[in-house]
Symmetry: C3
Subunit: 223 residues, 3 copies
Amino acid sequence: MIHILLTVLDLGGTFVFAISGAAAAVKHRLDIFGVMVLAFAAGNAGGVTRDLLIGAVPPAAIANWSYLAVSILAGLTVFFWYPLIARLNNPVLWFDAVGLAFFAVAGTQKALVHEINPVMAALLGMLTGIGGGMLRDVFVAEIPVVLRADLYALAALAAAVVVVTGQALHVSPIATTIVGGVLCFALRYMAIRHGWHLPAAWPPRGQSGELNKPDSRRDNRNS
Amino acid sequence: MIHILLTVLDLGGTFVFAISGAAAAVKHRLDIFGVMVLAFAAGNAGGVTRDLLIGAVPPAAIANWSYLAVSILAGLTVFFWYPLIARLNNPVLWFDAVGLAFFAVAGTQKALVHEINPVMAALLGMLTGIGGGMLRDVFVAEIPVVLRADLYALAALAAAVVVVTGQALHVSPIATTIVGGVLCFALRYMAIRHGWHLPAAWPPRGQSGELNKPDSRRDNRNS
Amino acid sequence: MIHILLTVLDLGGTFVFAISGAAAAVKHRLDIFGVMVLAFAAGNAGGVTRDLLIGAVPPAAIANWSYLAVSILAGLTVFFWYPLIARLNNPVLWFDAVGLAFFAVAGTQKALVHEINPVMAALLGMLTGIGGGMLRDVFVAEIPVVLRADLYALAALAAAVVVVTGQALHVSPIATTIVGGVLCFALRYMAIRHGWHLPAAWPPRGQSGELNKPDSRRDNRNS
C-alpha cells in the first residue's frame, strides 16, 4: 500500500519536475535532445541524490525504466506543445511548485521506510524536493530558484514535517501525504501570488546595489 | 580481454577530457593548480558518477592512482604547451568530442559488465560521456556545452546503443567499441563542421531576444 | 582519541564553512531559509562527497544531527549579526580559509582511518576541503573561488600531505593535524595578504581581454 503510494508520488513528481526542466530548456532554445536531458535531470536529480545518501543503490531512477519513460514523455509534451504550456503564466514556476509538493512528501516517506531517523528523514524529503530544481538552474547557469524564491525550501520542509509528525502519531500515510502536499503547494501559492516572504538580512550598504527590486517580485526572475 | 579494453578506453577518455578541462582553465587564466583541478574534474566526473550509481565504490578514479597520473599528465601538457594545442581551432571542442566517444563506449561496457539492464546501460554510457564536460562547464559558470551543442548527448547515446545492440547480437566488443566510437565522433564532426543539428522548439515571442544567431553557429560559443 | 579529534575538526570545519556559505547568501540577499540552505550546503558538501566516495553511507552529516545543528547555528549567527561579521574585511574569504584548513586535515584523517591508500587519502582530504566552497559558489552562479583563488587547492593539499607523511612516520596525529592546519592557513594568508601566487599560463592573445587585472588581486573578486 505505502509502496504504491510512494511510486505514484515519485513518478508524479518526476513528471512535473521534468516538465519544468523541459520548459527551462525550451526557454534557453536548446534542441530536442537537450530538452530531454534537462527534463531527466530536473525530474530525477533529487531522488537520485536521496537514494545515494540513504544507500539505496542503484537508485530507483536507474534501476527502473519507468522514471526514464515519464521524463521522456514530459520532455516530448513540452517540446511539441510548448505554446499550450506557455499560456500558463510562469509555467516553470507552477510545475515546479507541484513537483516540490509531490517530492517533499514522497522523499520523506521513502527515508522513513528506510528507517532514517525522523529529523533527517524530513531533511531528506526537503532535499528530494529541491534537488531537481537546483540542478536544472545550475545547468542553465542561474542562481537556483530554490535559494532566491520565497518560502521555497520552507514549503518543502513544512510538508516533510507533516509526514514525519503524522507517522509518529500513527496517522494514515495517505492523510499526511495529502495534507503535507497541499500545505507545501499553498505556501508556494501565497509566496508567488501574494508576495509572502521571510525576512532577508540586509547586507551593509555599498554591496546591495545590484538588487533593488521589492522583495515580493524576486520570484519573477525565474519565470 | 574486455577488462584491458575497458581500462584503455577509460584512461584514454580521461586523458582527452582532462586536456579539455585544462584548456578551459587556461582560457580562464587559472593558475597551475587550478588547471590540475579542472583537468581532474573534467577527466573523472563522468566515470565517478557512473561508479557511484552502479554501486562500484570506491570509484575506479579514487581506488586506482593511474587516473590521477593521467589527469596530471594532461594538465601539465596543456600548461606548458598551450600554444601548440591552441593552434588547433577550438581545442576544447575537439578534445571534448574524442573524449565523448571514448567514454560513451567505455561507460556502456562497464555498466553491462555490472549487469545493469541494456537500456539503462546505454543511458549510463551517455552519462559517463557527458558528465565530465558538464562539471567542467558548470565550474567556469557557463551553460554546459552538452546542453547547447548540436548532436552532443545524441552522439554519446548513439555510441552506447551500438555497444548494447552489439552485445545482444554477440558481436565482438572490440568491433562494437570501434564502430560506436567512430560513429559518435563522426556525428560531432558533422555538427561542428557542417552545422548538422536537431530541431529546437521556439519559445513564444518576447522571450527569445537574447539569442538570435543562426542555429548552426551555437557551438562556437564554447570554442 | 583519534575519533574525538576527527569529530571536533569536522564540526569546526562545518561551522566555519557554514558561516562562509551564510555570508555569501546574505550578500546575495537570500531570505533566512536560503541562508540556512546555503550554510548547510557549504558546511557539508565536502564531507558528504568524501563519505560517498569512500563508501561510508549514510554520510556522517545525514546520520548524525550535530552537523545540522552546527550549520543552523552558523546560519543564525550570520543572519542576526551580519554587520559584526562584515566588519572583518572579506568575511567569506577568511572563514573559508579556516574551514579549508580544518577540513583538509580532517578529511585526510578520515580517509586514512578507512584504509584508503595514502596518495588518495591526501586527495580526498583536499576534496573535503574544497568541496563545500565549490558548491557554495556554483549555487550563487560564480566561478568557484577554489579555481580562481591563489594557493587554494594547493594549501589544502599541503595540509593533507603533512597528515599522510606524519602517519607514515608514526608521528602523533594531533601534532600533524596542528602543523598541517597551520600550514594550510598560512599559505592562504600569504596569498590573500601578500599576493603569493602560482604561475598562470597565458592564453594566446585575443582571448584574454576579459581579464586584465594584476594576478595578485584575483582573490578580491570573491570578497
